[in-house]
């Protein structure tokens, strides 16, 4: 998708591990990993709020827009 998640860079800058961030935010490491690898479909405002709070940043620091075609919908080939 043309929306990228910049968790890697932010974690390195904050010297924080994914597990620690997952603990602080209150989501599982597996779910945070889905978010980090860009496989997530949507982000709840509550999760985004918690991420911004723990990483001390703005939503724009986590999410970035890259021009380009969106990834195809996964539903079509599933069923």
């Amino acid at each position: 998708m043309a929306i990228r998640i910049q968790l890697d860079r932010l974690l390195v800058e904050r010297r924080m591990s994914l597990t620690e961030l997952a603990d602080r935010v209150g989501v599982t490491v597996a779910n945070l990993s889905i978010l980090k690898t860009g496989k997530a479909r949507a982000v709840r405002f509550t999760t985004l709020y918690a991420l911004c709070r723990e990483l001390e940043c703005q939503p724009g620091d986590i999410l970035t827009y890259e021009p380009g075609p969106p990834e195809p919908d996964l539903d079509d080939d599933e069923t």
Partner: protein, 214 residues
């Protein structure tokens, strides 16, 4: 917003016709809230009981289909001309000798009929397995329901055609030919199954959306 049936509608001045219908609606409790008094999904629920019933029916149907298949194979080789068997309709009116084509067609059609329902039961068992786990909206259930609809269409359509062939060619007078009216209920059932498959597809899509929402 909670519904309030004890008080009149708060909408602006209803027309006389509508007012009458609304008054009737208030008099007859259309919106009866009904909740099943038993657990319908998950372990130890009605679904698990139904799955056991389906398992039993599946085994029985498998045995019946296997026996019919053996009878079909036997009827190819067994000489029936010397047996002098006749077939007649229920009222015992017209009688006709049991010929090999009639026997093969009859047993073959019956085997296909039970074989078709065996496949339907197989899919239903798998669907009910997911209901017993408590996770009905799996993408596989969509495919299973579509298969059920397709097999149901083929089986019921096949029965209708087979009865037509028997009535017209193989044993005229013994069996009545079915009209198009007989097809209405199967068509309705097949369409309902296909619609249900689409409902499950939508459910599976929402489930996946929910899983990938962090």
């Amino acid at each position: 917003m909670p519904s309030d049936r004890s008080h009149p509608e708060r909408s602006d001045r209803p027309t006389p016709g509508l007012a009458g219908i609304r008054a009737l609606g208030r008099a007859i409790p259309f919106r009866i809230s009904f909740k099943t008094p038993f657990k319908t999904l998950g372990p130890g629920s009605v679904s698990s009981l139904l799955k056991i019933a389906l398992d039993v029916a599946y085994v029985l149907l498998m045995v019946i289909t296997a026996v019919l298949l053996l009878v079909f194979l036997a009827s190819i080789f067994v000489p029936i001309a010397n047996l002098n068997i006749t077939v007649s309709n229920d009222s015992g009116g017209r009688q006709q000798p049991l010929t090999r084509p009639l026997l093969l067609f009859g047993v073959g059609a019956l085997t296909s009929y039970f074989g078709g329902f065996l496949l339907i039961l197989r899919n239903l068992r798998m669907i009910f397995r997911t209901l017993t786990i408590g996770d009905p909206f799996q993408p596989d259930n969509v495919r299973r329901l579509r298969q059920v609809g397709l097999i149901l269409a083929v089986v019921t359509g096949g029965v209708w055609l087979a009865q037509g062939v028997v009535a017209a060619r193989l044993a005229p007078g013994v069996m009545e030919r079915q009209g198009f009216g007989e097809l209405l209920t199967p068509i309705f059932s097949v369409l309902v199954v296909f619609v249900l498959a689409e409902v499950f597809r939508e459910g599976a899509r929402l489930r996946r959306e929910s899983e990938l929402t962090i």
